[in-house]
């Protein structure tokens, strides 16, 4: 292949590396209003009185808005960016008299510069009626304290939500007689796991600027993954027609799902719509850490039944998810904890998966790479690792015996068939890469340090089956270069380039011949947005189809110019050639002709949606060195083999994998969110919230074991999310193999390891 499966440079790479001004805060108009938010210091409170007179008098202040400027009985909305009708309950107002977490916005202040806005923020006086808060998600369901007691709370989808029970969602599914099969198993492990509300921590903070355009419409430029959903959300929040809103994204400085929630667009939008003046809001890192859209905290109870020979027969999973104060992505993330972990073990005869998603007075959760699968796979894979130990089996061998194969039907994966799968090859490959047979389970290095190895498997989806929509519009321009218009959002992942590669492959041209435009609700064809691992698989297919259609149009105009029938010509990418006499007309000549006396539009637009979501698979193996004295655990090597189908751009796929793996390692070893008794996040800066630095990791090695997915463009599946999942179980197992300790709560800090070893010593002494 000429363009696909080639490691071409990202189209924007050199612009980014030389520091060109391409992000929201670089592009915001000079002199626009600076917007900031006054935030609640209480986890649950009613605003009794709010005085803004003094704040409004601060020189330079343009406007101060409070709940009194927002109809409290109006329709509520959600900031989650998913396909309508949005499954997340409609539970927000732009400003609400009832504040529900420490950091919930209380007032919007806009002024000419930061100084006057900061001053005005200090001068707003608020009297709160402080209410008892729901702080523990384990006791939230049916708690007498309600996070959303209001009557205009609304669930548009039947997701089992009930605000009078603090329930954001509830679901149950299964197949086979789970209790009977478990009772018949030789061994049943019953384990509970807890994962925290970790932060995406993209380097670019949330940012948006707004202005009123030539036609009097609201023009929003935002660092977002979801331009179309954002338009819908803002229009509903402001109570204005969608026709009055245009949303555009420039370069996005990382998303990882954080920007699949419209975390902050509504605030400057509100200011600009009310004042008709341009405005911008850029979150501080502290706001990014305390009032954003982190991963859902979850508790998972796994019951895993197996026979002595290692046959896994039943998986029973109950997941409790903490959506925080608002329900963004609550009903949908929880499903992946089961639907993307249980199917790995295709030989099981029965499964049950029950879930509850509860409201608490905590920062609202949202979408984060892995989207529930990360948490579920940690629970299920760690239990499988423990099963291997209990049975005295090699954890990799146990996997090979039980995993899903190509052609298997996956009852826990919406009944879909596994149409492409190289998971067995992935396991074999990582074993070689890490030197599994020599290193498993652990080696004492003789210096107080022990090196353990551990393994974990993962799967994800490729878009949401029957829901996600990807579109592409392609046209021919002067001299024959192409423009590809998309609504998918390149957030650094390189989808602009990858989609251009797919177009170039079909059009037999160089990737440089395809320019890419995206994303803008006024100009892009509709696309759900860049999330759910959908872009390469779903939008990529739309690009392929649009390019095929455009080829036909090029041939039609070429044939007309050559004076022959369209059936008589071929297009080799440069020329349309008449097969009967060899005469030809070049792409450039056709482009020129298309602009003079022409009636054949050299443009094609296609929309694609897939009824199934072929999973990418992955095996990861970690070698972790544990210092038994200090408890420090360091990943010295991480090996991963990925089956993402055809990697459209092997370089970009590799970096996706390496980056995802390190995020996963951060989640196991250092990233934590804890609250004080008042409900305040303690890890509110990069000083306390520790994402890995380049000194915290040895080497990450990634190889591809590709299957070929017939439903994907040129055999491709997704890559973006599956890559974050394996480190959680693999590193946890490696630490176990080094120390003998099983951890079921993340992160596993040096302190936890030392405390665990002290407990080990105590129990040894008792014996």
């Amino acid at each position: 292949m000429r363009a696909v499966n080639q490691p071409v440079r990202k189209k924007d790479a050199m612009q980014l590396l030389t520091g060109q001004p391409v992000y929201v805060n670089d592009l915001a108009p000079e002199g626009c209003l600076i917007v900031k938010l006054l935030r609640s210091p209480h986890a649950n409170a009613l605003i009794e009185e709010i005085q803004t007179d003094a704040a409004k008098k601060v020189p330079g202040i343009e406007a101060v808005f409070t709940w009194e400027d927002v109809p409290q009985d109006g329709p509520r909305f959600t900031l989650a960016g998913q396909t309508y009708p949005e499954p997340s309950p409609q539970d927000r107002l732009v400003l609400d008299r009832h504040v529900r977490f420490v950091g919930d916005p209380v007032a919007i202040v806009a002024g000419k510069d930061e100084k006057c806005v900061d001053r005005a923020l200090r001068m707003i006086r608020v009297n709160y009626q402080v209410l008892e808060a729901v702080s523990d998600f384990r006791t939230a369901k049916d708690n007498p304290v309600l996070v959303h007691p209001e009557d205009n709370w609304e669930a548009l989808c039947p997701v089992g939500a009930d605000n009078k029970r603090n329930l954001c969602a509830h679901d149950e599914c299964g197949e086979g007689d789970i209790e009977a099969v478990l009772a018949d198993c030789d061994i049943v492990l019953d384990r509970t796991f807890h994962t925290k509300a970790t932060q995406q921590t993209m380097m670019e903070p949330f940012g948006t600027f707004c202005s009123i355009d030539t036609y009097g419409r609201l023009h929003i430029v935002s660092s977002t993954q979801i331009v179309f959903h954002c338009r819908r959300i803002v229009a509903k929040a402001l109570g204005i027609p969608k026709s009055q809103v245009r949303v555009e994204k420039p370069r996005v400085g990382g998303g990882f799902g954080a920007k699949q929630t419209a975390v902050m667009e509504i605030y400057p939008a509100f200011v600009t719509w009310k004042t008709k003046k341009p405005s911008k809001l850029i979150f501080s890192r502290k706001e990014c850490m305390t009032a954003s859209s982190p991963r859902h905290e979850m508790q998972m109870n796994v019951r895993l039944g197996a026979m002595k020979d290692g046959r896994i027969r039943a998986i029973d999973l109950y997941t409790l998810s903490n959506t925080g104060a608002y329900g963004e992505h609550g009903p949908t993330t929880v499903g992946l904890t089961g639907h993307k972990s249980i199917p790995l073990y295709g030989k099981a005869e029965a499964f049950r998966f029950v879930s509850d998603v509860v409201y608490t007075n905590r920062m609202s959760a949202g979408a984060y790479r892995g989207y529930g699968a990360t948490q579920g796979l940690f629970a299920v894979e760690t239990t499988v690792n423990e099963l291997a130990e209990k049975l005295g089996m090699d954890a990799a061998v146990l996997r090979q015996q039980n995993i899903i194969k190509e052609g298997d039907v996956m009852p826990a994966y919406y009944g879909e068939t596994n149409t492409s799968c190289a998971l067995d090859r992935c396991i074999a490959r990582v074993k070689e890469m890490i030197g599994w047979d020599e290193k498993y389970p652990a080696r004492d290095m003789g210096n107080g340090k022990v090196r353990g190895v551990g393994i974990g498997l993962a799967m994800q989806g490729s878009g949401i089956s029957g829901v996600d929509v990807g579109s592409a519009a392609l046209k021919v321009n002067d001299e024959g270069f192409y423009t590809l218009r998309i609504g998918a959002a390149d957030m650094g992942t390189g989808c602009d380039t990858i989609l251009a590669q797919i177009a170039a492959e079909v059009l037999d041209c160089s990737v440089d011949d395809v320019t890419v435009f995206g994303a803008d609700t006024d100009a892009s064809p509709y696309d759900s947005g860049s999330y759910a691992s959908s872009t390469t698989f779903v939008t990529g297919k739309a690009v392929e189809q649009a390019a095929i259609e455009l080829r036909e149009k090029i041939c039609a105009l070429g044939a007309q110019l050559l004076g022959c029938e369209p059936g008589q010509v071929v297009f080799d990418g440069e020329n349309v050639i008449c097969e009967t006499d060899g005469r030809q007309v070049s792409r450039a000549e056709i482009a020129t002709a298309s602009q003079c006396g022409n009636t054949i539009a050299l443009e094609a637009a296609r929309t694609h949606s897939s009824p199934t979501s072929p999973p990418p698979f992955m095996a990861g193996a970690a070698e972790v060195e544990v210092d038994l004295e200090t408890g420090e655990a360091r990943v010295i090597q991480y090996a991963a083999a990925v089956d993402c189908g055809t990697p459209v751009n092997p370089n970009l796929a590799r970096v996706q994998a390496e980056g995802g793996i390190l995020q996963g390692i951060g989640m196991v070893l250092s990233e934590n969110i804890t609250y004080n008794t008042e409900g305040k996040v303690l890890e509110n800066s990069l000083m306390q919230y520790k994402i890995p630095t380049r000194q915290d990791i040895g080497h990450i090695q990634v190889e591809f074991e590709s299957s070929y997915e017939n439903l994907g463009p040129f055999g491709a599946k997704s890559i973006g999310e599956v890559v974050i999942n394996t480190p959680l179980p693999a590193v946890t197992a490696a630490i176990h193999n080094a120390t003998g300790l099983w951890f079921n709560e993340l992160p596993i800090t040096p302190e936890q390891i030392v405390l665990g070893r002290m407990r080990q010593d105590e129990s040894l002494m008792k014996e």
């Binding site: 990202k10 805060n25 670089d26 380097m203 650094g492 390189g494 390496e658 980056g659 990450i700």
Partner: protein, 155 residues
């Protein structure tokens, strides 16, 4: 207060507030490559050169630059392109938001230590956070660049 300094080789005079940060100053001067990623001097995104030494411009008052020379990536375009090409060949620029600070600090490293070991690279750049790449692709790019430099830098 009045300050005068050299910004990317050009004399600049400005009337600034005494508490203005160098980061906000260079951005106000149009040097948008310099990014703010945190408020706690942890991310490295705002790295600039103050008299040819890398500093975090979020932690330096603009007033401190009075009479000194400040360089942002806008002033190092040729070097940035030369080195950046090796990162681009790995796809390790990704979202790009950390790139200017990372490139600035990498260039500072190469000036200080033209043949750094892998450990020295990790240590010198440990304050430059990146959430996309896992650092591995950046390391490959740096090592390839150093190899190319060693061979005389001929393309």
């Amino acid at each position: 207060m009045q300050i005068s300094l050299t910004l990317n080789g050009k004399k600049v005079q400005a009337d600034i507030a005494p508490d203005m940060l160098l980061l906000d100053f260079v951005r106000a001067q149009g040097c948008m490559s310099t990014k703010r990623g945190c408020e706690t001097s942890n991310c490295g995104l705002c790295t600039v050169f103050l008299d040819d030494r890398p500093v975090l411009s979020c932690s330096v008052l603009a007033a401190r630059a009075d009479g000194h020379s400040v360089t942002t990536l806008e002033g190092l375009q040729e070097e940035a392109r030369e080195f950046g090409a090796f990162i681009a060949d790995q796809g390790a620029e990704q979202c790009g938001f950390c790139n200017p600070g990372f490139v600035m600090n990498a260039l500072a490293l190469f000036r200080e230590n033209p043949e750094p070991s892998e450990e020295e690279i990790r240590e010198y750049l440990s304050g430059n956070l990146c959430r996309c790449s896992g650092y591995e692709g950046q390391l490959r790019g740096i090592l390839n660049f150093l190899e190319w430099k060693k061979k005389g830098g001929a393309s």
